[in-house]
Every structure is written in structure tokens, then in C-alpha cells.
């Protein structure tokens, strides 16, 4: 079933879901060399976002976070795609300059219908996500 959403950053990717119910700060919160979350007390601390379809409510923190996403991409440690509940500018700009597909405002709550490890397709050209 295709679930429609709003396209923030164009592109198509397939990958396994990694969910964070907490907001995420890329600047200072994620190691740009390997994609491991380093923020103290974060539910994903110690886990890598590399190659995942990263699902989180929205970004937080410094605007330099846009460049951290870019650096992750250069280091081949970026997520394959991002699904946000509601995207904010830092992550939006980061995803666009790094060419990471990003979709938000899905018609269904992603935290309900997605589980960690689900294989999904994010189509941020037509504007939907689909479980495989």
C-alpha cells in the first residue's frame, strides 16, 4: 500500500527502517565519520544511521547540522532516506544539499505502521512510501 506524503527532498531509495521517537540534532548529535548517534541520553545512542531509512519526528539544534548531513553523505555514512513527522529547516536543507530523499507529513502516523527493520521504499519524486 502506498502512503502519501509531502516531498521535501527529491529522490528514491529502498532500505530498512530505523526509528527514533525523539528529535535528532545532527550537529554534535551524530558522528559525521561513521553515522553513529553520540548524543547523551538519546534513544539511538551508539546505533548507526548509515544506510537506514531514518524515521524521526523532526530535527533540532544548530543550523550547522545541515552541513553535518552533507559530511555524512561524503563519508558514505548518511541515511538512505529520511521520513519526518514534520520537517524543519535544518534537516530539510541538509537533506537537499546531500541529495537524501526526504518525505514528511505522511497520511498515516509512521510511528504506528513502521517497525525497526521493515524494508520500505521511499519515493520522494512521486511522494509516497511503501512497505516491500
Amino acid at each position: 500500500m502506498e502512503i502519501k506524503g509531502r516531498i521535501i527532498s527529491k529522490g528514491v531509495a529502498n532500505g530498512r527502517v530505523l526509528i527514533s521517537k525523539q528529535p535528532l540534532s545532527f550537529y554534535g548529535g551524530v558522528n559525521p565519520e561513521n553515522g553513529v548517534v553520540v548524543e547523551k541520553g538519546h534513544e539511538l545512542k551508539g546505533r548507526s544511521i548509515k544506510g537506514k531509512v531514518l524515521v524521526f519526528p523532526h530535527g533540532k539544534g544548530s543550523t550547522v547540522g545541515s552541513y553535518t548531513l552533507y559530511r555524512l553523505r561524503k563519508n558514505r555514512a548518511a541515511p538512505k532516506a529520511i521520513i519526518n513527522e514534520e520537517c524543519e529547516p535544518v534537516v530539510a536543507v541538509g537533506a537537499i544539499i546531500s541529495e537524501i530523499p526526504l518525505i514528511d507529513k505522511l497520511e498515516k502516523n509512521p510511528f504506528r505502521f513502521l517497525r525497526n527493520g521493515d524494508l520500505i521504499k521511499v519515493d520522494a519524486v512521486k511522494g509516497f512510501v511503501k512497505k516491500k
Binding site: 559525521p32 550547522v64 552541513y67 553535518t68 529547516p89 530539510a92 536543507v93 537537499i96
Partner: protein
């Protein structure tokens, strides 16, 4: 959101990769904030210039954009991580300087004016009343919206750059009249004097009302430098992008129902909150960058004296040229102080070089604690210069 035929063409890549990426950024922000269309901007002020802040990722991004990106409107930059001429005198490492100069070259290639100042409005980029601009640098954003009455959102570095390369921004937030009204009335119940008092006021208001727009009453007069200091501190401590001051700022606003008062005790709290118990070994004046008038004051305070601590006076290259001509520079340097252009202490790699910084800028205290880990002393300009001479804080 509506796009004109030309905007569509940029979005589809007909004007090159850099313009296309930029348009994608602007359109995405427009979608996020429900803008109806794009509008033209007259200028851009671009933050994210210091290598200390943006690192290799930022450098690479700028070099990729510089392959075919060209500014379509007047675009100026924030301070870099070093004085671009005299970085060797600042003990900047070669490896840092090389990267910083590559960043500057990328900007130049994009026809962006590397003004390297946080005070564009006194260094060649002065918007007029009601003009739309796309500025980052939170102190300049607050100054432009409030003191000048120009219109800008608080842009990030990449989004301001995107506006420079397209000449556009999305029509939302502070570009719309209905979002520029005051939300809280703030009555100041004491007479304020000097840049540090106005910085303390920004601290108080920011802490109290966060990023809402204040309507400030009770201020009889304020100099350009005092308003610059207030702009910097209110944006730092509250995230505010705009304020109104009764009888001083140019825009009309409705008087809000919600009221708060700032009294002598609140201002004293600000001074206490920004003062650590330590003797300063580093004095920093010029956050935001000094005006010519501030350089005059510093030179008058230093005339015939010798400093015993490190003293940095930061300003724009433009203002420094006039200071050289008039002779303020010579007086300050003769006393052992140094004037640094193109940079500021918040974005220069100074960690570990000093223990405690004294300044007349409330904003400077915040960033210096965070980025360089120094203790801070906060007081009026004269107190800071006296401390530079005596090495003691009184």
C-alpha cells in the same frame, strides 16, 4: 506554492546546478512554512564562513556550488575564522588558514562580497525601510528588522546563500506584515547607559519572553551602537528576530495586552549571570563589530596608556580603513592593543589560549563560553579597557 516561469526554469536546472540546488532549498522552506509564492530579495548576508564552524563538509559544499553558482543580488559574508591579511600575527595555524582561504575563494568565485563582518549595515550592505532581504547572522537580522524596518527571516547559512544565488526567498514569516506585530509589552523601569546595559537588557528580555516580539517602552534614547548591542543579545538569549522600541524604531505596531517589567534588579541579575569570579587575561571589544565611533572611544580610553593583557578590538575592514586614516588605529596599537578585521572571537580557533575574557558584549559571553570554554567578565567599555591596562577587574 506558485512559481513563475523563470523560477520553474531555475528549479528544473536550466540555470545550472548551483542555482537549481538553491531553488530546491528555497522551495522546500516555502513548502514547510506554507508560503504562497517566492519574492525578490535585494541582498543576502551569509553566515557559516569560518572554517572553525563549518569544517570540511561546509568547505566542500561551497566549492561544489562555486563550480557554476553566481550571486544575482548584493551578497555579503559574516566574519571568517581569522584576519584574512594578518592571520600570522594571530597565531593561526597554516593548515587552518589554507582551508579558510579556500572558503573565501569559493565565495569570491560566486561573486559574493567577502566583507567578513557581522555589521553589514555599516560596511556596504544597508537595506532600506520595508525592503525584503535574506540575512543570516542573528544580530544583523534583529537590527535589520527592528532598527531599519527591512524584512528578513532568520536564515541559516545555506538558505541565505541560496537566496544570493537565486535572488529569491519564500514569502512567509517576517516578510508578511501580519507577523511583525509586537506580542509582549516590556516596560523598562531604569535608565540604561552604554552598550553593556543594552546587552543586559537583551539578556533579560530574551530570557523572559523567548522568541516573541517585544514592544519596549521606557527608553528615552539609544545610540546606533546601543541598538546593535541590544540586537545581538536579544537574538542570542531569546532567539528574537525583531523588536519594537517606542519612539525609536520605525515600524508601527499594535500594543500587546501581555505586559512584563524590567527593573534595576533584573539588569543586575544579567550582570551577575554573565560575570564569573576570575581575573581576565583577554579583553575583547567589538561584538558585533565596532563602529567608527566605538573605535574612537577605545582610542580615547587608551591614549597614553599600556595594556597588560591581550586586547582584541574586532571590526570590519571598511571601518578599519577609516580608523587608520583618522589615527585611532595607531593609538590603540601603540597602547599594545590589536585591531583584528574579518573575524571575531566567537568564530576564531582560540580554545586553550586564554582563561577568562572580559567584554562589553552580552552575546560575546555566550559564544565564548560555548565555543572557546573561557570564563567571562561583563561590564561597560571603560571597565573593560581599564582591566586591559591593570589586569584586574574592578
Amino acid at each position: 506554492m506558485y512559481l513563475t516561469r523563470e523560477e520553474e526554469a531555475i528549479f528544473d536546472g536550466e540555470f545550472g546546478r548551483a542555482a537549481q540546488k538553491s531553488m530546491e532549498i528555497i522551495v522546500a522552506l516555502g513548502e514547510i512554512y506554507d508560503a504562497d509564492r517566492l519574492i525578490e530579495v535585494k541582498s543576502a548576508q551569509i553566515a557559516g564562513v569560518s572554517y572553525h564552524n563549518i569544517g570540511d563538509a561546509g568547505l566542500e559544499f561551497l566549492e561544489v556550488l562555486a563550480k557554476d553558482g553566481k550571486a544575482r543580488v548584493l551578497a555579503t559574508t559574516n566574519p571568517a575564522g581569522m584576519d584574512l591579511k594578518n592571520w600570522r600575527k594571530q597565531d593561526i595555524e597554516d593548515s587552518f588558514a589554507r582551508k579558510q582561504l579556500r572558503i573565501m575563494n569559493a565565495f569570491k568565485k560566486m561573486r559574493i562580497t567577502t566583507s567578513c563582518t557581522c555589521t553589514p549595515y555599516i560596511a556596504g550592505n544597508l537595506p532600506k525601510f520595508r525592503e525584503h532581504v535574506a540575512w543570516s547572522e542573528s544580530s544583523a537580522v534583529a537590527y535589520a528588522n527592528s532598527v531599519i524596518g527591512a524584512r528578513t527571516n532568520r536564515e541559516g547559512g545555506p538558505s541565505a546563500l541560496a537566496s544570493a544565488l537565486t535572488g529569491k526567498t519564500a514569502n512567509y514569516g517576517l516578510h508578511l506584515q501580519e507577523n511583525r506585530n509586537a506580542e509582549v509589552a516590556v516596560n523598562v523601569k531604569m535608565q540604561l547607559r552604554g552598550t553593556s546595559d543594552f546587552g543586559a537588557l537583551g539578556w533579560c528580555i530574551g530570557m523572559e519572553i523567548k522568541n516573541r516580539i517585544p514592544y519596549i517602552t521606557g527608553i528615552k534614547s539609544a545610540s546606533m551602537e546601543e541598538l546593535k548591542s541590544l540586537s545581538a543579545s536579544i537574538a542570542t538569549y531569546g532567539g528574537t528576530a525583531m523588536f519594537h522600541i517606542d519612539g525609536i524604531t520605525p515600524e508601527r505596531t499594535d500594543r500587546p495586552g501581555e505586559r512584563v517589567a524590567i527593573n534595576r534588579g533584573n539588569i543586575a541579575d544579567a550582570y551577575e549571570g554573565l560575570n564569573d569570579d576570575a581575573a581576565p587575561d583577554f579583553i575583547s571589544i567589538g561584538c558585533p563589530h565596532c563602529s567608527l565611533n566605538e573605535l574612537r572611544k577605545v582610542s580615547e580610553l587608551l591614549k597614553g596608556r599600556k595594556v597588560s593583557t591581550e586586547l582584541w578590538v574586532t571590526t570590519s575592514r571598511e571601518v578599519k580603513k577609516l580608523s587608520d586614516r583618522i589615527g585611532y588605529t595607531k593609538i590603540i596599537e601603540k597602547a599594545g592593543g590589536r585591531i583584528a578585521c574579518d573575524t571575531c572571537v566567537a568564530v576564531a580557533p582560540l580554545k586553550g589560549r586564554f582563561r577568562c575574557m572580559a567584554t562589553d558584549s552580552a552575546k560575546n559571553c555566550y559564544y565564548t563560553k560555548g565555543s572557546n570554554g573561557f570564563k567571562t567578565r561583563f561590564g561597560e567599555l571603560k571597565t573593560c579597557i581599564d582591566a586591559a591596562v591593570s589586569g584586574e577587574w574592578r
